[in-house]
Subunit: 326 residues, 2 copies
DNA sequence: CTGAAAGCGCTTACAG
DNA sequence: CTGAAAGCGCTTACAG
C-alpha cells in the first residue's frame, strides 16, 4: 500500500495537520519537528495524492490546452513552449485536440464542468470561440494563442502579422520587385487579413489569390496566375507550405528563383531551410508564443489580473536565397 | 456556486447515494426516481467533479503520455492518434515532454507518485527506460510506442522496421540497382539496426554511413561518399529528412534522380510528397501506432491482461518518382 | 428499491 | 508551535 499523510503522521508522532504544514512549508513549525517529519516522508517515499490535494484545495494544478489538429506544421513548437513552461511551474498539462468534431467539444466541455483543470490555453478555436467565451465569462481563466485578429474579450498572445507582411513587402521592394503575386490562406483568418494589409500598405497589388495553407494551394496559385498570363516578379506566400508549392510550380514552368521571380514565405518552418532554393520567410516565434501564453495564464492563476490588450511578439524576416538581400 | 451531488439530492428529494447510482447508471433504481433525478441534474447543469470522483474511486480516468521533443516531424501524427483514442474513451490526456532533462524527469516521477494518472504511454524514452521499468514493476500500466528494438518487459506497439528495410531493398533490386549507399540514424536506435538488417539481408552493402535523423546528415553523407569516390546507384535513407538531404546533395553535384541514382526514404513524412523529385519511402503508420497503443493501454486499465509480445503494425512502401517502379 | 454512514487523502479555520 | 475536527465532493459496502 502506498503511504498516506496519516502514515507519515503516525510514524512521526505528530498530527496530520503538522505534516500538512511541513509539506506546504508553512512557518510556525518547530525546526526539529519539521526535520523529523521530513525524515519520515523520505523514508516512506511519501508524495501527497494530487487528487486529494486538489479536492481539498479546490484546484487541480493542471492546465488544459485546446488545439486544432496536432499535425499542423508549427504545432510541435507551440506545444513544446507550453509544455516546458507549464511543467517548470509544477503544473500538469491536459491536452484536448478538437479533432473529432462535436463529440470532441462535448468531451471538452464536460471536463471543464468537472473542474478537471484550473486554466485553459487555446489555439485557433475554429467555431468554438463562442463556447470558450462562455466558459471565460463563467470564471475559467483563458489565454488565447493567435487570436486570428478577432481580438475577443480575453487575454491573448499574438504576433505582428501586419508588420510581418509589411517587412516582406519592404524586402521585395528594396530588391527592386514591384509586381507581386500574393498567395493567401483562407481569408476568414485574421492573420491572413493582417498579413495582406501589411503587405499591401507597402506594395499595393491586385494580384491576390486566396487559397489554403498547403503546398498544393501554392502550386495551383502560381500555375493559375501563369496560365492567365499575369505578370509578376515576386511571390509573397502566406505560409511556407504555400511558398514551397510556389517554388515547385515556378521551377516546373522553367522560371528561375530568385532571378526571374523572388519568393517570400511566412512562418519559418523547418522545411524553409531545405527548399530549393532555401526560402526567405517571415519568422513567427511559435515556441515563444507558447511560452508566453503559458506564463501569462500561470500568472493569472496566481491571482494577478491579465493585460486586456494582446501581448504581441515580433516577427522577424529571415533572408535566404529565394529572395536575397539586394 | 456550482452544484454538487448534495444539491441534486436535496432538490430531487433523494439521498446522495441514489443520485450517485443514477449517475453511474447502476440498475436497481426506480425508473421514475431516476427520471426525476435526471431532470434535476439537467436543470442544475450538474457535472460530477472529476477530482472528487477520482479520489473516491481511486482512479483519475486520465492517461499520461511521455514524449521526446514534440517538434519531431512525426510526433503530431502519433499524438493525434493517441489523443483521439483517449478522448473517445472519455479519458483525459496528460502530456509530459521530457525536454528539460533531469528536472523534467523529476517532475514526471513526482506526478506518478502523486497518482495523477492511471496509465502511461511512452515514446522513445532515451535514458528513462530504467525509471519507467521501475514504475511498471510497481504497478503502473505502461505501453511503449516504438520500443527501439529493445523489447523490454512491457507491452508495446512497434512497426516492421526490418521488413520495411527489406522492402526498400527489394524495390531497388527489382529496378536493377545493386550498389546501395545506406544513410542511417544513430546506431543505438533499435529501429536503425532493424532497418539495416532487413535491407542488408536482401541487398548486402558495405557502404553504410551512420548519421543523425536530419537533412544535414543526409547531405553530408552523400557528399562524403562522393568525395571518397565511392560508387553507388541508389540511396536508402533511414528517414525522409536524411533522404531530402541526400536528394539535395545529389542535385547539387549534378546527379539526376532517379536516372543516375534512385533514392528511398523512411517514414513518409508530409514533405516526402514535396521533395524534388517526390520521394519513394517506407511508410510508418504513426497515427495508427498511437491509436493502437492507446487502445491497448485502455484495455489494460479495463482489467484485461495485455499481450506480452509487441503488437507490430506493418510498414508500407510508397512508390514515387525518386525510385519508380521498374 | 433506497439511505445513513464511513471513507478516499488531503487542507484549513479554530482553539489552545 | 500543535492538534482535533470539519470539510472538499464523491463512492460504496451495509442494512433495511
Amino acid at each position: 500500500m502506498r503511504a498516506t499523510i496519516a502514515d507519515v503522521a503516525r510514524q512521526a508522532g505528530v498530527s496530520k495537520t503538522t505534516v500538512s504544514r511541513v509539506l506546504n512549508t508553512r512557518a510556525d513549525v518547530d525546526a526539529s519537528t519539521a526535520a523529523r517529519v521530513r525524515e519520515v516522508i523520505d523514508a516512506l517515499g511519501y508524495v501527497p495524492s494530487s487528487g486529494a490535494v486538489g479536492l481539498a484545495r479546490g484546484s487541480s494544478r493542471t492546465i488544459a490546452m485546446l488545439t486544432p489538429p496536432l499535425t499542423w506544421p508549427w504545432m510541435g513548437e507551440v506545444l513544446q513552449g507550453v509544455a516546458d513552461t507549464v511543467e517548470a511551474a509544477g503544473y500538469g498539462l491536459l491536452l484536448f485536440s478538437c479533432n473529432r468534431g462535436a463529440d470532441s467539444v462535448r468531451h471538452f466541455t464536460g471536463q471543464v464542468s468537472a473542474r478537471a483543470f484550473d486554466g485553459l490555453l487555446v489555439i485557433e478555436p475554429e467555431n468554438t470561440l463562442g463556447t470558450i467565451a462562455e466558459m471565460y465569462r463563467k470564471g475559467l481563466p483563458v489565454v488565447l494563442i493567435d487570436d486570428r485578429g478577432r481580438h475577443p474579450a480575453f487575454p491573448s498572445v499574438a504576433t505582428t502579422n501586419r508588420e510581418g507582411g509589411a517587412s516582406a513587402a519592404r524586402h521585395l521592394l528594396d530588391s527592386g520587385r514591384t509586381k507581386p503575386l500574393v498567395l493567401t490562406g483562407r481569408r476568414d483568418f485574421g492573420c491572413v487579413r493582417d498579413r495582406l494589409a501589411g503587405f499591401s500598405g507597402v506594395l499595393p497589388t491586385d494580384l491576390v489569390v486566396e487559397g489554403e495553407f498547403t503546398e498544393e494551394s501554392g502550386r495551383h496559385g502560381v500555375e493559375r496566375a501563369l496560365a492567365q498570363g499575369r505578370d509578376f516578379d515576386c511571390v509573397f506566400a502566406h505560409n511556407d507550405l504555400i511558398a514551397a508549392g510556389a517554388l515547385r510550380a515556378l521551377r516546373e514552368t522553367g522560371r528561375t528563383v530568385p532571378d526571374d521571380i523572388a519568393v517570400v514565405g511566412f512562418d519559418d518552418l523547418p522545411i524553409a531551410r531545405h527548399t530549393e532554393p532555401p526560402l526567405t520567410t517571415v519568422r513567427q516565434p511559435m515556441r515563444q508564443m507558447g511560452e508566453t501564453a503559458a506564463r501569462l495564464l500561470l500568472t493569472g492563476l496566481g491571482g494577478e489580473t491579465l493585460p486586456a490588450v494582446p501581448v504581441v511578439l515580433p516577427t522577424e524576416l529571415v533572408v535566404r536565397r529565394s529572395a536575397p538581400c539586394p
